[in-house]
Symmetry: D2
Subunit: 360 residues, 4 copies
């Protein structure tokens, strides 16, 4: 525990990298949502490795199966079990992991916590775990899309020290997916691709920052005081492996500002309240005000690298390790759909909770 | 909802700025913990306003009362109700709030969510809500201190664009409390105090960044995959009003690094595993490795400022508002003990959960 | 833990018999509910001891105070703290409890669990704990009443071996409250009063069964499979001290029937589905069908009795104890409002949860 | 929702009668527990239909698969996904269910709640759902067995009006399984078998009462005040389809007793506290005292019967229905292992929670 997330739209994930399968059970999905395997597969395919030379060359079909909870094309309100079979395990690549702790990875801490671990391919701490998040996230996104018109979009904003420059409100999914590094700024995209290729050539890896826009979010969601929308979103996104930082609106930059600069002027126009600027990132007092929710998420460089590193092992030995296997030089490149998925799962929980109590 | 935080050490907070009282109920505190009102009052006093000219001049005794759960000086294992009576309400200062929405504040979104609000002094969204967090946090801190020797310390690292320079591992509570802005770097402290005074004079406010060190944390706590230690800590800290960003370890800086730079070498020495550096900030794979947990938290400038701002009101009118009342020009100056409290509450939950399943 | 009940309408109770106060915090009450202390006090007064010679002669005003969450006569959507100050403690009556374990009581098990206990007046295990349930239940009842027209009514059906005979659908609150034993069958009421008086005279106590009717319940509430309406109601009612059994509909009698006898014929009439009989007690498949929910709840005789009993003590001594103090000879007589309260709290949670997901 | 049960040992179940599979995900199982598919299969086989002429003749292999969470024969602390593939669906038997609501069944209420339903074989409300409970229960039972020596045993105590007479403390699993109706009293067993056969011949069904003994339970578990051990056990058992009543210890009979009869004398002997009798059923003040926990559970007669019954349908029509398909004339005969499973899951949650806070 806790591989279960969410109070009203609960996602219970399971599975190890080299076990039989990975999957998720969604408990609490509203009945009557049109849902097919194809709806989910589209998201899965965006996460899939092997798409170009900048990501791991592993070939994984990652075909999702709906095992329950959907009947005649619609959700029934009962639990939806989603499963993806593991196919492409190269167990022989991972034998060293049994004895050595990769620096920056969960090997050591899993042993400290559980006494031992499934060391094959990272076991539960493998990036394959995110498959389950994406599958469940596709369902959450569809609910928000149909119920509120919400659109959730994430892209790569910087890689290493290479930054991009775009008008966030104009970024499209097409522009993101057209870039091999999922950066919608073509010039920056080219430089980022070069930085990733260099890291890979050097048997190294590199970090990145993702942007996240939630457009037309449900209004008035977020539960003061502990489940403020930014706290729930931040907690959800920080649970993704390799995430080291989260910002909402101006984020750390807000700490450098004066109130007169950071406050957004409120205006009543065309029958609703708007803000003239959006330094707040769409959330005030922990509750969405209807403006676009804007976040930034920092990913560290992939921990597993092919160059030799000093480390220790489970028999208390000290020595060196050069990780074998096929690893992404920049995990963040495949992460936009994962970020979107966790945001959707977090937000749909707040949305359902807000509906529950709208009574008097 | 949700004013309840935590699965095993649950803190249920309540109270509005100008209601009868604010308080917290702790459900799940282990029995046998020595606890007195004095233990808690020490933390309360660090949060209290009116300590110098840089914080709000409101005088609040903020005396905590233990109403249940402690008998003969020890916790009984039953719920601990902690209450602070509200004394110093100047209702007349706040009448404008009924009709106007302060920019950057929760006034608008509370009305959107609940249909109306207790507008007196910010109601539930007032900074007085944090009193309850501090009271409960003092209990959580004492548990961690007695059970693991854990020490939690937060301080102001930057105010506006003024930054400090300290060796985090050497910072002491005394040094922090000796500074009027709670920055243990004396030179920076002086500049920060000036920046805050200037903001105040300009009827404005200013943001700040806090550092947080958790020394000798419980080892092997954090629950993969959704309750990773950084996700739980981040979610807890992002629930504090005015927090806009959270980092663990290298944080956003990690996104600029290569894996070979960011990974920490693991070494087995003196009977335990250590890392030679601590870029990870004490957490790997969502589980604590025993190194100091290091975080940074960004606070926006206080939303309520005395200068005139454009805004709208509850009857759909547009106009201007100059907030009256006494407000901190920099909320972050009183926030270190709040940050420490939320970190303690988050961590004690993970600590108790880890104990539950250590069986075979 | 767990002194917190409910996922969406959470009730966090606190307080010991001889501490400062007892109370409850409600987190998640919908905003806009008209609510006054008087609304709650009416329920409190039905639970109050000292009403006649058949219940404990202790005089307790049990005046409820709303400390937060209500503004200008309506709930604000923020936590509602309800408190009752303890006034009438006779500490001297309870000193023996420190050393001896009363048979049938929680004294021994609290010591086993927590290492020690607040022995004054039963501490947390005192019947005063139910004050908090009744206070919160009054709020839950009002929500169900206003939103669905639901009426919840409980009464004494049997005391010892004295049973009553009424048409459940015709029982009124007035008839129940007119009886000193809260039994709406006047003839049985008289016999029951005699049985209670005899038990009291014999320094003994006596058990009873309560009936519970929930009329015009919300339809389609109950969450398969673990939160079936009967499971949630049963769990809530079995958490009341002294309850030893729970039945829904035909209950244990259903085990003696054939399917052809126990099934209720469904008929579509006047625009809705009805059942011609109600053996099921208003719930099918864990979901309410709109018929009256009917339950029965068994209360054991009060454990604390004035006659001498063999028992053991905390220093491992064996001996005898004759409890002093003033105790109800039949706890069930004051229990109808407690039963109604827990039923309301359980049901309002299911009602809010059902609302959350009614989307497509 | 809620198909998830339990706070620390969480069981998330999924699957419909005629979908791909049914299963459970266990989140929070302690690491290091020896576990094989065979361990679980033994329990599954006790639940399986087709064992003799008194239960449904459907043949279901019900072979369990462990898809995650076990490595080299031991649990890893990560989620355990258990799945059973559905094989023997006779879809043609169930077409009438689409249009008609079976009396006593969930057909109507699922339509009221969700707007439509998977009508094949009862869908989610099918007895196949209990497969997931039994699979997860086998894991819970093994934890309690290894950690505390706990033995959990359930048997049929009465069928219709036929009752049995045994010394509960002497009942063995062997004796239970030797009876075709799972009643360890050979004489009563024969009469019960006859009663079930008669009901079957009459195209009818019959109810039953199960006994449940939990021997050598963990001591001091149960969380006052809402998660008292009897409340948690009762809630869990009442969530099993067809259960209409629950008793602990003397149960409803306690309501007929005097305190002097019902209280159990406490005695300190051989280094521990015991009670000379066990009217309480092993729980005092909601906390286990170490004595055997004894419960009784009432099952109604199977709702689906082959004889013609009046009912209504989803197009508002009234008429008659004679259910086709193969149904148990007495669901309770296969229920002992289901009852044991839910008791184990409930108890292991309380056991883990008690461990979490044993600190000072």
């Amino acid at each position: 525990m806790s591989s279960i997330y969410g109070k009203l739209f609960s996602v219970s994930t399971w599975g190890e990298s080299h076990g039989e399968a990975v999957g998720a059970v969604i408990d609490g999905c509203p009945a009557g949502l049109p849902l097919s395997e194809e709806d989910i597969q589209q998201a899965m395919d965006r996460r899939r490795p092997g798409q170009n030379t900048l990501v791991t060359p592993r070939k994984e079909a990652d075909k999702v199966h709906i095992l329950s909870g959907v009947f005649e094309g619609k959700t029934t309100g009962t639990p939806i079990c989603l499963a993806v079979w593991n196919e492409n395990q190269h167990s022989k690549d991972y034998t060293e992991m049994m004895n050595w702790y990769r620096p920056g990875h969960a090997d050591l801490t899993y042993d400290l916590k559980y006494g031992f671990r499934d060391y094959r391919g990272g076991g539960r701490a493998s990036a394959r775990e995110t498959l389950a998040r994406v599958a469940a996230g596709a369902v959450a996104s569809k609910i928000l899309k149909l119920a509120c018109g919400t659109e959730i979009l994430s892209w790569v904003e910087s890689v290493g020290t290479v930054t991009s420059n775009v008008d966030a409100s104009k970024v499209t999914l097409e522009a993101v997916e057209a870039s091999p590094v999922r950066c919608p700024d073509p010039e920056a995209s080219e430089k980022m691709a070069k930085a990733v290729a260099e890291a890979k050539f050097a048997k190294d890896s590199i970090g990145a920052v993702l942007a996240l826009d939630i457009r037309k979010p449900p209004v008035a969601v977020g539960e003061p005081v502990f489940d403020k929308a930014q706290a729930v979103l931040g907690g959800a996104l920080l649970s993704i492996s390799a995430v080291k930082g989260f910002e909402i609106g101006e984020g750390f930059h807000a700490a450098e500002l004066h109130g007169s600069e950071n406050n957004d002027v409120i205006r009543f126009e065309d029958g609703k309240y708007r803000t003239l600027t959006n330094h707040a990132g769409g959330i005030l007092g922990g509750i969405t005000n209807g403006e676009t929710i804007h976040c930034r998420i920092a990913f560290k460089p992939t921990a597993t690298i092919a160059q030799e590193q000093e480390t220790a092992g489970r028999d208390h030995q000290n020595g060196t390790l050069a990780a074998r296997g096929r690893h992404d030089p920049c995990v963040a490149l495949r992460a936009p759909v994962i970020v979107e998925s966790m945001a959707a799962i977090a937000l749909v929980n707040l949305f359902l909770e807000q509906r529950a109590r709208k009574l008097f």
